[in-house]
């Protein structure tokens, strides 16, 4: 991997604004980092490697230049790790439901 050929679906990365060019009134930590952009499209060049400056044609037909960041980019977001904090909520709620409404309970007592 690491090499793409013409027409391959790729993701490119560009720095839009360098730290000194950012909008005024931003929080410090945002002022000191660049504004970056990622766009996907089909590679225009015959071939390219990760990190090369390339051009892509996006799905709307725009030509965009940037640094080759990913080839055949996949979605890797998920449902995350198992969260023990959620484990008992459903069980507790079912148990509560079996008790009936508060005033019903009070009336029975």
């Amino acid at each position: 991997m690491g090499k793409a050929k013409k027409g391959d679906w790729v993701k490119i990365h560009t720095v839009i604004l360098k730290p000194g060019q950012r909008a005024p009134k931003l929080p410090e930590e945002t002022l000191h980092v660049p504004l970056e952009m990622w766009v996907k499209g089909a590679l225009v060049e015959e071939k390219a490697s990760l990190g090369d400056d390339v051009t892509v044609r996006t799905i709307t037909g725009r030509l965009v230049e940037g640094r080759l960041d990913d080839i055949l980019p996949a979605y890797r977001h998920s449902f995350g790790s198992f969260m023990p904090v959620l484990q008992d909520i459903g069980i507790e709620l079912r148990a509560l439901m079996e008790k009936g409404e508060r005033h019903d309970v009070e009336q029975k007592l």
Binding site: I16, T30, E36, K40, T60, H77, G80, V85, G90
Partner: protein
């Protein structure tokens, strides 16, 4: 001649770019002062309710089911006094083609773009609206570009936003992803100039008008099923369009006595333009970081005059905590068999609390749900929060500190909606209107406008004006 593409040059051309890209000459409605003719703008540039309903019907949008949450109602009654605990209903907006009520806004905006002859649409959104515009563009045969604020400077993306990007791409849209910062607007303008596409802003009259059908429908459905009007309708509030459109639709159904409540997730203390805070919040919308600024200054949006004016319609505004919404998301799945949200369940969590203080024969409606999926799921969000150093625990939700921990209640009786002081919001809006116009001596029409825009009266506005004027002198 090629246009200067520097940040300053593009921002300086903004009104010109926007005028071309939305096809509305906002100047026609301006008074030259604070006031503008909101009603005329909505009438002349929007669509009638019947037109909107027929546009949406032709795109498979709307007519979503109104469901009674019998188990959650019963659970709420556990913690209510005798005779209390209103019936909780939910409008299952996840049933729209793109999985949220935003399809209503998008259907109208895309329809309008096509009618005006635009080849494509652009929207700046990290939320469900992107998927909605992409879905409608696919259906109506237009190109679509969605601009997202997605990553922090480490290149780590919020999983919910990454999921929305996936969904947009599934509908054939181009997604432009950016790191944190309000300069997203600059890229947005550049793209509008480059492509000549329509700005499918969330805040145009057609975007807001699209939500009116939701308010209208829910009133019709409640009347049909229960023979009465809803007593309270809770809207998750961020930019204000959801609440504004819903409330306007309710009024068009002659539903005049229902309380309209806005609900936002409490993210107090987190800065929306902060690179470091960006991935320390577990909600990307429906939170106070948008809800309060857009309430106190609606014209901060991407159009000269926003059609979303929440304070005009809001009777009450409450906040709810992240952990409470996650808990209710879990409760909705376990007790009602519905996996939705989590962000769209903000109003549900609030309604669960509010219902307990309402009589049993009353009705409270949660006016939306949204789809769930990888990234956009209670477990995905909690797991991501944990990876970003947020402590996840069960306990009393009052202990929750946004950006530090997320506290899921130990017991559902701990879920409590907290009131935001409406007077403070109204005051703040009036002050902002003054400062933006550099005007401390408004004319009568301005005072009337501010009264309408804050759902108050002339004497209230005059009182605040006097206070502000004396404060500015001293």
């Amino acid at each position: 001649m090629t246009l200067n593409k520097s940040y300053e040059a593009v921002m300086a051309r903004r009104s010109d770019v926007m005028r071309k890209a939305v096809g509305i000459d906002y100047d026609r409605f301006e008074s030259g002062s604070i006031a503008f003719d909101y009603d005329r703008m909505m009438q002349e540039t929007g669509y009638t309710l019947d037109e909107m309903r027929s546009i949406q019907l032709s795109c498979g949008v709307g007519r979503t089911p109104l469901l009674e949450l019998k188990n959650l109602t019963r659970l709420a009654r556990h913690f209510s006094d005798n005779g209390m605990g209103a019936r909780i209903l939910v409008k299952d907006e996840a049933a729209n083609p793109s999985g949220s009520f935003k399809a209503r806004r998008a259907a109208n905006a895309v329809f309008h773009a096509r009618k005006l002859g635009f080849k494509g649409v652009i929207a700046a959104t990290s939320g469900n609206y992107g998927a909605a515009v992409a879905s409608q563009a696919a259906m109506q045969g237009l190109n679509c570009i969605i601009v997202q604020e997605c990553y922090d400077s480490r290149g780590i993306g919020q999983p919910e936003i990454i999921e929305k990007a996936r969904k947009c791409e599934a509908f054939g849209a181009e997604v432009v992803q950016l790191t944190v910062g309000p300069e997203l607007f600059y890229i947005f303008l550049l793209l509008l100039e480059e492509t000549g596409y329509f700005n499918a802003s969330l805040y145009t009259p057609f975007g807001i008008g699209g939500v009116e059908t939701l308010g209208f429908e829910l009133v019709e459905q409640v009347r049909e099923k229960f023979g009465q009007d809803p007593n309270v309708v809770v809207c998750t509030h961020a930019g204000g369009g959801n609440l504004t459109g819903t409330a306007r639709g309710m009024l068009k159904a002659a539903c005049n006595n229902t309380q309209v409540v806005g609900a936002s997730v409490n993210l107090q203390g987190l800065h929306m333009a902060s690179d470091q805070h960006f991935n320390r919040k577990s909600f990307t919308t429906g939170h106070t970081g948008f809800g309060i600024p857009f309430a106190v200054w609606p014209d901060r949006s991407d159009v000269p005059r926003s059609a979303a004016r929440p304070l005009r319609y809001m009777d009450r505004y409450v906040t709810i905590r992240q952990g409470e919404v996650f808990y209710m998301t879990e409760a909705l799945a376990r007790l009602e068999g519905m996996e939705r949200g989590p962000a769209g369940n903000t109003s549900l969590a609030a309604a669960f609390s509010l219902a307990q203080a309402m009589p049993k024969d009353q009705i409270i409606v949660v006016q939306e749900t949204e789809y769930t999926g990888a990234g956009k799921h209670v477990q995905a969000q909690l797991s991501f929060a944990q990876d970003n150093g947020i402590e996840i625990l069960r306990g009393d939700p009052v202990m929750e500190i946004p950006g530090t921990n997320i506290v899921l209640p130990e017991h559902p009786s701990q879920i409590k909606a907290c009131d935001v002081d409406m007077d403070r919001l109204r005051r703040s809006y009036i002050r902002n209107a003054f400062e933006a116009n550099d005007l401390f001596h408004p004319i009568e029409s301005d005072v009337r406008f501010l009264a309408d825009d804050t759902k108050t009266d002339v004497s209230y506005v005059n009182k605040i004006i006097t206070e502000l004027a004396s404060a500015s002198v001293s």
